[in-house]
Symmetry: C2
Subunit: 204 residues, 2 copies
Amino acid sequence: MNAEPSALHSLTRYPGRGGDRALLDEVLDEALVATLSTVVDGWPWSVPLVFARVGDDVIVHGSTGAGMLRHVAAGAAVTLTAFTVDGLVVSDTLFDHSVNYRAVVVRGVLETVDDPTAALTALTDRIIPGRSAETAPITKKEVAATIALRLPIVDGKWIAKSRSGGAGVETDGWTGVVPMRTVYDEPITDTGTVIPESVRHLAR
Amino acid sequence: MNAEPSALHSLTRYPGRGGDRALLDEVLDEALVATLSTVVDGWPWSVPLVFARVGDDVIVHGSTGAGMLRHVAAGAAVTLTAFTVDGLVVSDTLFDHSVNYRAVVVRGVLETVDDPTAALTALTDRIIPGRSAETAPITKKEVAATIALRLPIVDGKWIAKSRSGGAGVETDGWTGVVPMRTVYDEPITDTGTVIPESVRHLAR
C-alpha cells in the first residue's frame, strides 16, 4: 500500500469552513451514529455504528460475531464520519440552496481498548447520561461477547467543517434558513412502571 | 484489484433485521445527508454529502473544484451509507441498551448524469418539495461549475437493515423506548418578506 495521500485530506473547497478541535468534539458528542469505513480487498466497505468520544478516543463496539469488526480490529485503516444536519438554506435561486451542517471525518487505525467494561459503560452513559449508575453492571460473559475498539484522535488525522448562516445572495426575494434539530418524544414503556431518572432527564 | 468480496456484504449478524427495497427507498428518501466512501491509493476516504434518490439512482453533486468528486467521478468504487436514528432502547441491564435505526449501504460506481439540470433540480425538490417551481432555474454557467453524479441502485449491491421495538429482556424493571425524530423549527428570514409556500409546507 502506498503512503497515505495528503492531497485529498485537506479542505480544498471553502477552507474557511474548516473547524478546530472544539468543533470536532462538539460533533462527536452530539451525533449518536457514525459511519465507519474501511477497505476490504481494495473495495470500500462501510457500516453505521453507535459511537462515543471519550477524551481523545472514539469508542465503537460490536459483537465478536461481526465480520467487519474483526477486520477493522486487526488493524485496517478506517475513516469515521459523523455529522449533524442543522438547517435548510433557502435561496430564491435554485443553485444557491444549501444545507447547514457540522461534519467530521476522523482517520486512523482502530485499537483494542484496555478496559472493555469501562468503554462499554462510557458508551451507554454517553447516550443516556447517568444510566450506568441505575443498571446492573455488564457481566464478564457479556464483555467476552463484545469487541470494543478505540480510534485515537490524532492531530492531522481529522477534519471538522461546518456551514452556518443564510444563502448569502443579494436579492429582494425571500431567503432564509429553516433550522433543524433532533428531539426526543415521550418515553414508551415496555415493562415496569417507574421511568428512570436518566431517561426522564433526556432532553434535546 | 481483486474481485469484490461477498462475505462482508451480507448480514451475518441479526439477518432478521435485513430489509427489502421498500426499506431502502424509505431511508434514502428520509435521510438528507449520506456518507460517500471510496478508496484512494489503498486508503479509505469518506465525505458527507447531500443526496437524493430519483427512481433507481442516488444523485450526489459537488463543485468541479472538489478533488474527491473528481476521483469518484472517474469510476472509483464507492459505498453510500445513510441512516435514520429512530429511538433509544432502554433496558435495566447495561448490556441490553440499544438504538433503533434504519440504515442502508449502497455499493457501486458513480456515473455521470445525462441531464445535470434535471438532477440538480430533483436534488433541491427532494429537500424542499416544490421549491424548483418557485425559483429562477439553474443557469448553464452554474451547471458547468457542478459535478452531478448518479449511483445506480442495483440488486445485490445494497443492504437495508433496521432495528425497532423494545429491549426484549424479561425483567420487572423499567424498559422501553425513547423515540427520536428530526423537526423543523420556524423559518428564519434573511431577506424578503413572504415565506415561500414550499418552505411553509415543510413539516416533520
